[in-house]
């Protein structure tokens, strides 16, 4: 296998393919770093362009967009407090406060390093143990996914900014929003309030863009320019985290990358879920409360782990691991390649070529984004008024482009209004986002599990995988209750 991979590098390091990968990566980074535009959009936009290319070139281009986009999402999250892609939502939590403290360069550097590390680890996993993982992932039926998602929701506490009760309320609000639209299992309309447009439900992307971006935009419009951010006044010194810091975060980054790989390989879950779980891990590893580089490394390693992870079921079984890989799958089919168990035997060259391309893409992204960090930071030097006006326009495009529906832009607006008031009354916004990400999966998997078992609740407790996640959830909740009891004890008490 080693010789085939080396040979594959040869086929990949041609001018044509290098150009294509560079293009894809740059486009991906740009799309990822601009709030409102996502890598999914980029992949779909560039799909027609790939028809004329050879299969390897086509898939390399799209992979470049995918990986570049996932990595680039951290830029806007850190610098502006608006996630560039939904998978970068968790990066905002520690990234943005760190940037405000003047550590923007280091934050961006950490995000980049963690992302590339997570991505490369996922590619290596893909190369070596893909079939094993794919087969294991098949054991994740609806009941197991439900357990997993329940575990994910228990991390809500970590993002509740101190007030669990309000965090839970925020989560409930997110869940309520999720119920609008067609019921995921039966296809029955719910809570459409007579508006036919609402039948499509509330899409995650416009809602998330709205929650993060609109309050920022409004704030920048309505406050005087002079001293909003002090990021620009401080000089950006270091761009990469120091070796000591890297060593400190290594184990965390590794863990979160694994989480990402796992989540990616389970069809039905994707980037945002992994990012939130990664953030939760980081929160536990941090030495102190307060924003730290760990809070960036965790989510970023996780979401890039998803990229390789999602390719595992795609290549070995022909099932897409997430929405972006679904389009990649389509691209392969148009080129006459059928991803699946036979791909290896029939087109081994192609598969090895893809592996080589993946590694090269990560290197390209590392350099391009690393080089670009200096320029990204300069963005903050723009006058806030122009910067946020541009962001407003871009966000409307991004919200529209999800489903080519103006309605989604309204969703963005109302989400922003909601987030504004929630923050005003000290309700954390993050749990609502988490609920919107996980809620649909939770309901869908719960009901489908019951359909499979024909009403018997046994299906939830008989699988060892489910039990593992349930115990983890219980442990977290116990830990949480204990902590809050301790804190409350020193306060006004219950």
């Amino acid at each position: 296998m080693v010789s085939s991979i080396l040979h594959a590098f040869g086929s990949v390091l041609t001018p044509e393919l290098l150009l294509v990968m560079l293009l894809g990566s740059v486009v991906g980074i740009v799309f990822g770093s601009i709030p409102g535009l996502t890598y999914s959009m980029g992949i779909i936009l560039f799909l027609p362009m790939t028809f004329r290319l050879s299969p390897l070139a086509a898939i390399s281009l799209l992979l470049g967009v995918y990986i570049g986009g996932m990595t680039g999402g951290s830029v806007a999250a850190i610098l502006l407090g608006i996630p560039g892609t939904p998978s970068a939502a968790a990066t905002v939590f520690d990234g943005y406060p760190l940037a405000k403290k003047g550590l923007a360069g280091k934050a961006l550097g950490t995000a980049l390093v963690a992302s590339i590390f997570g991505g490369l680890l996922s590619v290596i996993t893909l190369m070596i143990v893909a079939p094993l993982i794919a087969n294991f992932a098949l054991n994740f039926g609806p009941a197991e996914i439900f357990a997993l998602v329940l575990f994910g929701l228990s991390t809500i506490c970590g993002v509740s900014a101190g007030n669990i009760l309000k965090g839970l309320v925020s989560g409930c609000i997110g869940l309520l929003v999720m119920t609008i639209g067609l019921d995921p299992v039966m296809g029955m309309p719910r809570y459409t309030f007579g508006f036919s447009r609402l039948i499509a439900g509330v899409d995650l992307l416009p809602f998330m863009i709205g929650m993060f971006a609109i309050p920022q935009i409004v704030q920048s419009f309505s406050t005087t320019e002079v001293k909003i951010e002090n990021i620009t006044s401080k000089k950006i010194k270091t761009v990469y985290p120091s070796l000591k810091e890297l060593r400190r975060m290594f184990w965390l980054t590794f863990r979160c990358a694994l989480i990402g790989i796992g989540i990616g390989s389970i069809p039905g879950t994707g980037g945002p879920v992994a990012a939130f779980l990664g953030y939760d891990q980081a929160r536990r590893t941090k030495k102190s409360e307060g924003p730290a580089l760990e809070g960036i490394a965790g989510p970023e390693a996780a979401n890039n782990g998803v990229t390789g992870g999602a390719l595992i079921p795609m290549f070995t079984l022909g099932i897409p691991g997430d929405a972006a890989t679904a389009v990649l799958l389509g691209a392969l089919m148009i080129h006459g390649l059928k991803p699946g168990p036979l791909l290896f035997s029939q087109h081994a060259d192609f598969v090895y070529g893809v592996y080589a391309a993946l590694i090269v893409i990560h290197v390209i992204v590392l350099f391009v984004q690393g080089f670009g960090i200096r320029f990204f930071v300069k963005i903050l030097n723009f006058r806030k008024c122009y910067l946020f006006s541009t962001i407003l326009v871009l966000c409307t495009i991004g919200a529209y482009a999800v489903n080519n529906n103006v309605f989604d832009i309204y969703v963005m607006f109302f989400a922003g209004l909601l987030a504004f008031f929630m923050t005003k009354y000290d309700y954390p916004v993050a749990p609502a986002v988490l609920a919107l990400v996980l809620g649909p999966v939770m309901e869908d998997s719960f009901r489908r599990a019951l359909i499979l078992s024909q009403g018997s609740f046994n299906i939830f407790v008989t699988s060892p995988i489910s039990l593992v996640f349930y115990s983890l959830t219980v442990l977290i909740l116990i830990g949480q209750i204990r902590r809050s009891a301790k804190n409350a004890g020193s306060g006004t008490g219950k």
Binding site: P142, G187, I319, A331, P341, N405
Partner: protein, 326 residues
């Protein structure tokens, strides 16, 4: 510096406004000049799905024939109603096209939409796709007859996955259940998840479009037991049809293109002949062969009759099964 900025600004603004206005052809442009700008094609399914792929391939083929690009726009959701509703409300000037399928009818009977094919002017039927039913390779049933017998004798034990409640694949599964006079558990899944569930042992069979399971069938992980079409298809020569397996059922998924009702005849005719050329091209034939699609061109007038007949059949079928709201 300021003045340059001002000049640049005005230039850009004027470019903007002109481009925004100028992108429209002169009002009521003559049909012989059609198409004068890109034609937007809507696909009611998500990017990467079988429907999306044929849409994109066809757009690619039509571009040199019509001389304009046909960008594909995915408008999903609402059980396909969002996409259909959007296009039906567009101006009938030939610049909004949509791909229709039996989904248009099932969505109507399901109650997701209040209109069906009359809201559109059908241009041409493009393709057929049979629906396949597949089980795990090492399942106890090697043929469709065995499986059908099992369903007959064991009501409520078999779980069959489909691509969504009310979808065409669900309809096929329900029709089988009906013919067997038995009961089956229908488990709706999103795209692609059904296969994972078969392998994971959570369902026994799955009803899907062959292109979605072709690779796994060839790899001998799944076994496609039968196809719903009237005849076998080239991509799967060894797979019998329902009729050959002694099940009196023939159902086929058709796809075609349409524009909003009221589009002028000359435009429709132009699109129809362009579509005919595309369907008859070698490129398209090769594409279909790889995706187990059957090219099935039918000109607009006959197509509309065909849809009307299918409308009747589907309405009846859904009523019998009990999934119809009308």
């Amino acid at each position: 510096m300021k003045r340059i900025g001002l000049l640049l600004g005005f230039v850009l603004v004027s470019v903007c406004l002109f481009a925004g206005g100028g992108a429209e052809p002169s009002s009521g442009g003559s049909a012989s000049a059609y198409p004068e700008k890109p034609i937007e094609v809507t696909c009611v399914f998500g990017a990467g799905s079988a429907a999306d792929l044929i849409t994109r391939k066809f757009s690619d083929l039509l571009q040199p024939i019509l001389g304009q690009s046909l960008p594909v726009v995915n408008r999903t959701g609402g059980g396909q109603s969002i996409g259909y509703s959007h296009v039906k409300d567009q101006k009938p000037d030939g610049y909004s096209m949509i791909w229709t399928s039996n989904g248009l009818l099932t969505a109507y009977y399901q109650g997701n939409m209040d209109f069906k094919q009359e809201a559109f002017r059908s241009i041409a039927r493009i393709s057929y796709e049979p629906v396949s039913i597949a089980v795990k390779y090492d399942a106890p049933w090697a043929t469709m007859e065995e499986f059908f017998q099992y369903i007959k004798n064991n009501p409520g034990k078999i779980r069959i996955g489909n691509s969504g409640v009310g979808s065409y694949t669900h309809l096929v599964a329900a029709a089988i259940e009906n013919k067997a006079e038995s009961k089956v558990v229908h488990v709706p899944f999103g795209q692609g998840l059904a296969f994972a569930s078969i392998m994971g042992g959570q369902i026994e069979a799955s009803v899907q479009l062959p292109s979605e399971v072709l690779a796994q069938h060839e790899a001998k992980q799944l076994r496609i037991l039968a196809l719903s079409s009237g005849e076998r298809i080239a991509a799967l020569p060894e797979v019998p049809t329902f009729k050959e397996s002694k099940i009196d059922l023939e159902m086929i998924l058709w796809r075609g293109i349409a524009v909003p009702a009221g589009t002028p005849n000359e435009i429709v005719k132009k699109l129809e002949s362009a579509a005919k050329k595309a369907v008859e091209s070698e490129d398209f034939k090769q594409f279909c062969a790889g995706m187990s699609i059957i090219p099935a061109f039918q000109p607009g007038a006959e197509f509309e009759k065909f849809i009307a007949e299918d409308d009747r059949l589907i309405g009846q079928l859904m009523k019998t099964i009990g999934t119809s709201k009308r």
